[in-house]
């Protein structure tokens, strides 16, 4: 932590960056903070409560932040994948950001929890993490903690995959009936960067705006399709959802399908092309007559 504060102080003092986006202690757990004054670098913290994906602040949908000047961002492995995604898709120039990567031993489910990792408190997304030591960075800090303790038991995605079609339909109908269409899943996502979302278009209206299960299914399928091969698995949409809809299950399933089918895993190397937008002439097509 001192290492991080020291670095932030130095970067701000040298004028290398104008703002450091990191985490601070808030009244209810850890929260994101933008530090512009080197004297304020003491406020920065980093521990297992730092669940937020701060790469979302580099998203071109938030120009007010980049107007402050060149940012440095504190990232975990999952957030580094998001930065790589933004660079891959030409939404961010590599030299326009200083990446302060933290070696990560997993995070808890909510930033309001105690920073103690146990099978009950660890975020479910951390179990499959392949980038606890990010490869995309300008500064890599910390020592690599041990892998997070994951709860034993079944895998909810695999359980859904084994259900019958009718059971899955009933499951999602029940879950999606709670969606209030607040679009928090979109707002929090670091990879959602369209200036006008297709769900906001009214001429023609592609996605109904009223929160009915039918419209919610259409909205979520659209969102997931736009995330296919791009979702970094940071789990922020699930955390932001006020109705506790397990959105991560669909995204995880699609990510596994993309991996099985195209051998592609979302990583933190911006030079690897994403599966959608690229193709091979011999892609399998067993489902096409």
């Amino acid at each position: 932590m001192n290492e991080l504060r020291e670095l932030a102080r130095k970067l701000l003092g040298d004028g290398a960056v104008k703002v450091v986006i990191g985490y601070e202690e808030g009244p209810r757990g850890v929260r994101p903070v933008m530090i512009t004054d080197p004297a304020q670098a003491e406020r920065l913290v980093f521990d297992a409560r730092c669940v937020h994906n701060l790469a979302a602040y580099l998203n071109p949908r938030r120009p007010h932040l980049t107007r402050l000047g060149k940012p440095a961002v504190v990232v975990k492995g999952c957030d580094a994948r998001a930065i790589a995604g933004l660079i891959r898709e030409s939404q961010l120039e590599r030299e326009d950001v200083v990446v302060i990567a933290m070696r990560c031993g997993g995070v808890v489910r909510e930033p309001t929890m105690k920073p103690e990792l146990g099978p009950e408190t660890v975020s479910p997304r951390c179990g499959r993490c392949a980038s606890r030591e990010p490869k995309l960075f300008d500064h890599l800090l910390g020592v690599l903690p041990p892998a997070p303790p994951m709860p034993a038991g079944d895998d909810p995605v695999a359980r859904l995959e084994q259900m019958s079609v009718a059971e899955r339909w009933a499951f999602w109908r029940e879950e999606l009936s709670r969606c209030v269409r607040c679009h928090a899943c979109r707002a929090v996502c670091p990879m959602c960067f369209c200036s006008t979302c297709v769900a906001d278009k009214s001429r023609p209206q592609w996605v109904e705006t009223s929160p009915t299960p039918r419209a919610n299914l259409s909205w979520q399928m659209t969102r997931v399709m736009h995330m296919a091969g791009r979702c970094v698995g940071c789990g922020e949409c699930t955390r932001a959802c006020p109705s506790d809809i397990p959105l991560g299950l669909v995204l995880a399933h699609v990510a596994r399908h993309v991996e099985r089918r195209f051998g592609y895993q979302v990583g933190d190397d911006p030079s690897v092309p994403a599966p959608i937008g690229a193709f091979k002439t011999d892609d399998s097509q067993e489902f096409i007559l």
């Binding site: 059971e167 899955r168 999602w172 109908r173 029940e174």
Partner: protein, 175 residues
């Protein structure tokens, strides 16, 4: 004979499915045209929507078709390496490989969808795609699950139904 046997086996013999076909202008639309000018007999259940390329077909089109009351959907375009725009069908192939799997994961029976390559010279193949899809969807019956998605779940009462007037909007036309 075959069709009689099929109609006996089908649980919805009287049901005429509505099927929307999203086809590319250069191959399948022309192939469908050939089927028509060749006087090939095929089921009249398919409504064709012509698009420049399968690469133009957003998965939202399929969602929208189901929302609008379609019981089945066909997506068809040029064979690989035949795309008028060089690579549109390759992109579509990847996209629909993912979307088909997503539909399945969300609980939509993917037998309601057909993906095919039909070239401009394959009028007979288009007839088969249309007839096979129509019969398959006829067996599955109306897609009432999707169309009824916006009905309230059993046990969930809407505010107006419970007699609570709070938040009831004024009738249309009142000042």
């Amino acid at each position: 004979m075959a069709s009689e046997a099929a109609s006996e086996a089908t649980p919805h013999p009287q049901f005429e499915p509505k099927i929307v076909a999203f086809v590319c202008n250069w191959c399948t639309y022309t192939g469908a045209d050939l089927a028509g000018t060749s006087r090939l007999q095929m089921a009249p259940n398919v409504r064709v929507v012509r698009l420049p390329c399968t690469g133009r077909i957003d998965p939202l089109f399929i969602t929208k078709a189901f929302e609008g009351g379609a019981d089945g959907v066909i997506v068809s375009g040029c064979h690989p390496a035949d795309c008028h725009y060089t690579a549109g069908n390759y992109h579509a192939r990847r996209r629909f490989a993912i979307f088909r799997d997503l539909l399945d994961f969300m609980g939509v029976d993917v037998r309601r969808t057909t993906f095919s390559w039909v070239s401009a010279s394959e009028g007979g193949k288009w007839r088969d795609v249309v007839n096979d899809t129509t019969e398959r969807v006829r067996k599955l019956g109306p897609f009432a699950e999707y169309q009824g998605l916006s009905d309230p779940l059993p046990g969930v009462r809407r505010r107006a139904a419970s007699g609570d007037q709070v938040g009831t909007p004024p009738a249309r036309g009142t000042p």
